[in-house]
Amino acid sequence: MSDPTQSSDRRGPGDAPQRMEPPTTDVSAPFWAATREQRLELPWCTKCEEPIWCPREVCPGCLGTSIEWRPAAGTGTVYAVTVDHKPQNPGMAGWAPYAVALVDLDEGVRFLTNVVGCPPDDVVVGMPVEVTWEALPDGRQLPLFRPREVRAPDAAGARG
């Protein structure tokens, strides 16, 4: 349990902020491989025709193992958001405050991420967002999200 009264150690000004690098598993290897080319992919059950998140060996709908990685649009909507002022990871102290958000991807899965590219307090529930990338030291890229401009409905309709 975290102690709300205790402050994190802060890095000196010269140190670059450091995220915790996500570990990888066999089941998530295709996800991380795609990120190296800034492609966001999701695992789909080919039987249920449903996306699965987070990645796992079997489909939680049918327990089948017929899983296929498919490109995701990289667009979604903020479902909930919190701005963290005192990170537990001292390596992220230099980034605080920052927005941690649950983003509902258009494919129908919910992704935990940071929304960047605007002041953290400007991130609100319902905000349209799109994927953006941050390089990790090992060449993988971490998917983050940023505010997305939405075309006016009539403009979108004009295309069809």
Binding site: D3, P4, T5, M20, P22, Y79, T82, H85, G91, V100
Partner: protein
């Protein structure tokens, strides 16, 4: 099927905490002391015990006590573990698997830091697991972040305000003022809560539970045997559990907890409605946690928790006394707080709570919440009159 309602009772309880936030004992010694006090409270001896519940290892703890239980439960659902233990123990007693069960908890995070020479544990990247891969790289604060997300969603969906959440902390502090062992007893205002530093928005410092030492234990036995013991029994009238996620990304709806399943199930078994509840002990790791319980247990409609609490209804003199020991927000919170819900519920039913006693309390509910709104376990307790 063996009917569970009224088949078993809590007959002994103990807990300890301190205004300093620290206790002298720790570890097994503290656990053993809690068991000794709870058995003494019941008028039973260690030799009577044939069942053990412990959220880390019931085997290691039984070995330490030198007892050979025939019912054992090491279930760990986080803070709701102790409500789950009561549910399981009641079922085991009803089925005749055992007669006398002890459950115990002790944790001393505050004094542990002193014993470690003031050294903070170094922050260590955890090993491979889904949370480490998909949640922690984004710097989400645990466990506060997921609760902050739930509060954010509730506010956006239902218009719940920071002031309404703050009122829960204010009402709870009013109860703590009447508990000599509470960590914080000075009154606070809604403005005080809102002026305290934002931790993970929209949660302020005073929306968050404490980090303190604390310990407790319970003793349970059959209804038959309970009647001959030292104190009036607190009968288990209903008990139910549900979990629907572990990681916050997997929670289906951040405004609805699995208490919406466990609560009504337990109330149905007990044959009660929310109107019958005299004391609600609803796990308050954060103000939003308690607010969600009020809705999911049916004390108000979904989305109306903010309006429900804002007139101080859950404080002293209100129509729904909630967290009368001062709660995790002001009494104690050693990490897995569910034990203290049970202890206070039993004491309220016995009329042992002094200044904070809810007069004529016949039905008390202990509603535990484990991990990040993940596992809810509801225990309905009642006096002989309510049985």
């Amino acid at each position: 099927m063996i009917p569970l309602r009224g088949a078993a009772a809590l007959v002994g309880v103990a807990d300890d905490a301190s205004p300093t936030g620290e206790l002298d004992r720790h570890g097994r010694a503290l656990e053993a002391e809690m068991v000794r006090l709870a058995l003494d409270d019941a008028g039973l001896a260690l030799a009577d015990v044939d069942g053990v519940c412990h959220a880390q290892s019931s085997m290691a703890f039984a070995e330490y006590l030198g007892i050979h239980p025939r019912f054992t439960d090491s279930t760990n659902t986080g803070g709701s573990s102790y409500e789950v233990h009561v549910e399981h123990a009641a079922a085991a007693i009803a089925a005749g698997l055992c007669e006398v069960v002890v459950g115990v908890y002790a944790s001393t995070p505050r004094s542990d830091r002193r014993r470690a020479g003031g050294q903070q544990g170094r922050w260590m990247p955890p090993g491979p697991n889904p949370q480490a891969e998909w949640e922690w790289p984004y710097g989400i604060r645990m466990p506060m972040g997921p609760y902050a997300l739930a509060a954010s969603r509730h506010m956006a969906q239902y218009g719940t305000t920071p002031e309404q959440l703050a009122q829960i902390a204010v009402s709870t502090r009013q109860w703590a003022a009447m508990n000599p062992k509470a960590r914080y007893r000075d009154p606070i205002t809604v403005d005080d809560v809102l002026a305290s530093p934002v931790q993970s928005s929209p949660l302020h410092l005073l929306d968050c539970c404490l980090v303190t030492d604390g310990a407790g234990a319970f003793v349970m036995t059959s209804a038959e045997r309970a009647r001959d013991l030292r104190k009036p029994p607190a009968y288990v009238l209903g008990a139910a559990t549900c979990h629907d996620h572990l990681m916050i990304t997997q929670m289906p709806d951040l405004t609805v907890t699995p208490g919406a399943v466990s609560g009504p199930s337990a109330f149905k078994m007990a044959g009660i409605t929310p109107d019958d509840v005299d004391v609600l002990m609803g796990y308050d790791s954060f103000t939003i946690t308690a607010l969600l319980h009020l809705e999911d247990l049916g004390f108000c409609a979904k989305g109306e928790g903010g309006a429900f609490v804002e007139d101080g209804r859950t404080g002293p003199g209100g129509s729904l006394p909630m967290n009368t020991n001062g709660g995790g927000l002001s009494y104690t919170h050693p990490g897995m707080y569910g034990m203290f819900l049970l202890v206070e519920a039993v004491r309220q039913l016995r009329g042992e709570c002094g200044d904070r006693q809810v007069h004529g309390a016949d039905i008390a509910v202990a509603h535990g919440s484990g991990m990040v709104l993940s596992c809810m376990s509801t225990v309905v307790l009642g006096t002989e009159a309510a049985r």
